[in-house]
């Protein structure tokens, strides 16, 4: 019944500030562009992986907007189809990590005592272990073949930082009056967690979702770049791996665009995420603006 009201609410509390903040808006538009590329793109752009050696390393043209690769396949098609798995892994990893961080952070903060001590030390350990080598070793030994388990592995090494800040936030509000009131009214843990605490940590979560997506892109492309889990031939990391290590496209002048296309896309996508997360920080924490 309240759907319209809710949409209006989302518009005013979330979308309008983004439109008004130039940085956030830039990032938002870039990310939206890539999301369209990943969702609608593959439906519009066909993917043909037929080898045609006569078309090897063609420069960009109308027929091939980004040129062709080492065996005559269109690079633009690969970029469009690859964006799907790049973004899928990014979103899934961020989602898994957020859920894990909220669960651990709120449990540690609310329960306190020995549970808090144990969970906090687990968080510390996860923060100390270097994430990239451990992701690489897990992905390599478990021979990952699908985006879901790959995202699960990546998210395992991303949640700890957010869990720590959520825990700190919960500890600082645990004894505030409105929580006490909710407890006295016997509203139940469910109500306290989702109605009283969640709205307060929501800004953290929104910003962290974007930064985690970015971290997941860096990690997944990096791992694929090293050629460890090549389950999707059009993934940008696999394209980079082929260009750099397998077919030596970077060593011949005419093959350079094959490496540059995925590189440019990764930088643009991550730049969008950086802009949006910085913009969101400015929106939720206006004090930051004065230092700029």
């Amino acid at each position: 019944m309240n759907i319209k009201k809710r949409l209006v609410n989302i518009y005013y509390s979330f979308l309008r500030p983004i439109f008004k903040n130039r940085r956030a808006f830039t990032g938002f538009v870039i990310l939206l562009g890539f999301f369209l590329m990943a969702t609608v793109g593959p439906l519009v752009v066909p993917l043909s992986l037929r080898t045609d050696w006569s078309k090897r390393y063609l420069p960009p043209s109308l027929e091939h907007p980004l040129g062709t690769d080492y065996c005559g396949r269109d690079i633009f098609q690969q970029i469009v189809h690859g964006s799907r798995s790049v973004l899928l892994i990014a979103v899934l990893s961020a989602l898994f990590a957020i859920v894990l961080a909220i669960t651990v952070g709120i449990t540690a903060g609310l329960l306190g005592g020995i549970v808090d001590v144990i969970l906090s030390s687990i968080i510390d350990v996860f923060l100390t272990i270097p994430s990239f080598p451990v992701m690489l070793i897990i992905a390599a030994t478990l021979k990952v073949k699908d985006p879901f388990s790959f995202s699960a592995i990546i998210s395992m090494w991303m949640w700890a930082g957010l869990a720590r800040s959520i825990r700190a936030e919960v500890v600082s509000i645990r004894n505030k009056e409105f929580i006490e009131a909710a407890k006295l009214l016997d509203l139940g843990t469910f109500h306290i967690v989702f109605r009283e605490i969640m709205p307060l940590v929501m800004p953290y979560i929104a910003i962290n979702f974007i930064t985690m997506m970015r971290a997941a892109i860096t990690a997944s492309v990096g791992i694929m770049f090293l050629g460890v889990v090549p389950f999707d031939i059009t993934h940008w990391g696999v394209m980079l791996n082929l260009a750099m290590f397998q077919y030596g496209a970077v060593y011949v002048p005419e093959g350079l665009h094959y490496a540059l296309a995925p590189l440019a896309c990764i930088v643009l996508l991550e730049y969008g995420a950086v802009c949006l997360s910085h913009g969101l920080e400015e929106i939720f924490n206006p004090r930051l603006k004065t230092y700029e």
């Binding site: 350990v125 100390t128 272990i129 070793i137 897990i138 390599a140 030994t141 090293l226 930088v267 991550e270």
Partner: protein, 334 residues
């Protein structure tokens, strides 16, 4: 104070122990036993029957008996780690420690040089842009920082490699020194080492200098608000002295804490950067081991990376209160 240090040390050991356990159980769970894979390779290469090859694999390359129960093998593995036996590489057919002895000096050299260079440049830039608010330098550094923040390390490394090594041929494409030279302490060799290390160091510096600059700017900006700085300005002290002795000295402390964390990030990133530049350090061999499923080498090098990071964190944790009296007081209160 002493109790705090002891607590940190116990905690560091626990982290190392836990990471070692994770890799042990990971590799234990590999589909198709490690021994069988190695034995198959050996059988093919040496032309012996599979069973015989398996015996050899067990004694030489695995270092533990897979017929023993899991717990016993685990204990044996941990005991081996404690005595410095990190297992054997199945590809290079040497103990992992031998690979480490060869590779670690290069990684340490490149990482420490890159860390100190980027820290020095970044801190200086941050201090300047915090002090001179109205110059064009501030926005330039901020824009540079958010741009390099958006560039993952493999992007920076690949661009530098393609442009400076492959296209312009200004720098070598592989190795830590020219192969025609024998290692030793003479000028030609040292120059060759520096020449080969330039690109990896440059990649780290390009990637991290913006981070330090922004961190220092934030820290210095809050120190500039303090009364003692205003008093120094009012006393008419020279600008240089205010910046170094008054602002810099205080503002650098919270920035320096990040050195260990940043070293950890760089050590993690070395896997990619050393692979791109074909620089034979720890990261290069670690990537090589994961690509070729050399489990012994993977496990051993991962252990070295973990120990490096945990020790760096521990050193900062212990030293920091000694340099920053504010933290010392707080730590004493806790």
């Amino acid at each position: 104070m002493l109790w705090r240090i002891i607590k940190r040390i116990i905690y560091a050991f626990f982290t190392i122990f836990l990471s070692a356990s994770i890799t042990f159980f990971l590799i234990y769970n590999i589909p198709g036993s490690v021994v069988d894979i190695i034995a198959a390779q050996l059988a093919e290469e040496m032309g012996v029957p599979f069973e015989e090859a398996k015996e050899i694999a067990l004694t030489y390359y695995v270092g533990y008996d897979p017929n023993k129960p899991l717990l016993e093998r685990y204990v044996e593995y941990i005991l081996n780690l404690l005595t410095g036996n990190l297992g054997r590489s199945t590809i290079f057919r040497v103990p992992v420690t031998e690979v480490i002895v060869k590779a670690l000096p290069w990684t340490l050299f490149v990482l420490s040089t890159a860390l100190l260079t980027s820290f020095a440049i970044g801190v200086l830039l941050g201090l300047i842009i915090a002090w001179r608010r109205r110059t064009i330098l501030g926005p330039i550094v901020t824009a540079y920082a958010s741009f390099t923040d958006a560039m993952p390390d493999f992007v920076t490394a690949m661009i530098l490699y393609i442009v400076l090594a492959v296209r312009l041929k200004l720098f070598p494409m592989k190795g830590a020194y020219s192969e025609s030279l024998t290692p030793g302490l003479y000028p030609d060799f040292i120059l060759s080492v520096l020449y080969h290390a330039t690109l990896p160091i440059l990649a780290y510096v390009v990637e991290h200098v913006g981070f330090w600059a922004l961190l220092m700017k934030g820290s210095a900006a809050s120190v500039l608000e303090e009364d003692f700085v205003k008093a120094a300005v009012a006393r008419g002290l020279p600008e240089r002295r205010i910046l170094t002795a008054y602002v810099g000295r205080v503002a650098i402390l919270p920035v320096a804490v990040m050195l260990a964390i940043q070293l950890g990030a760089m050590l993690g990133g070395s896997t990619i950067i050393e692979t791109v530049f074909n620089y034979p350090g720890i990261g290069y061999f670690f990537a090589y081991a994961t690509q070729n499923l050399d489990y012994g080498l993977m496990q051993g090098l991962f252990f070295v990376i973990i120990v490096g990071i945990v020790v760096a964190n521990l050193v900062i944790d212990i030293i920091y209160p000694l340099i920053d009296p504010r933290v010392r007081r707080e730590a004493g209160r806790l």
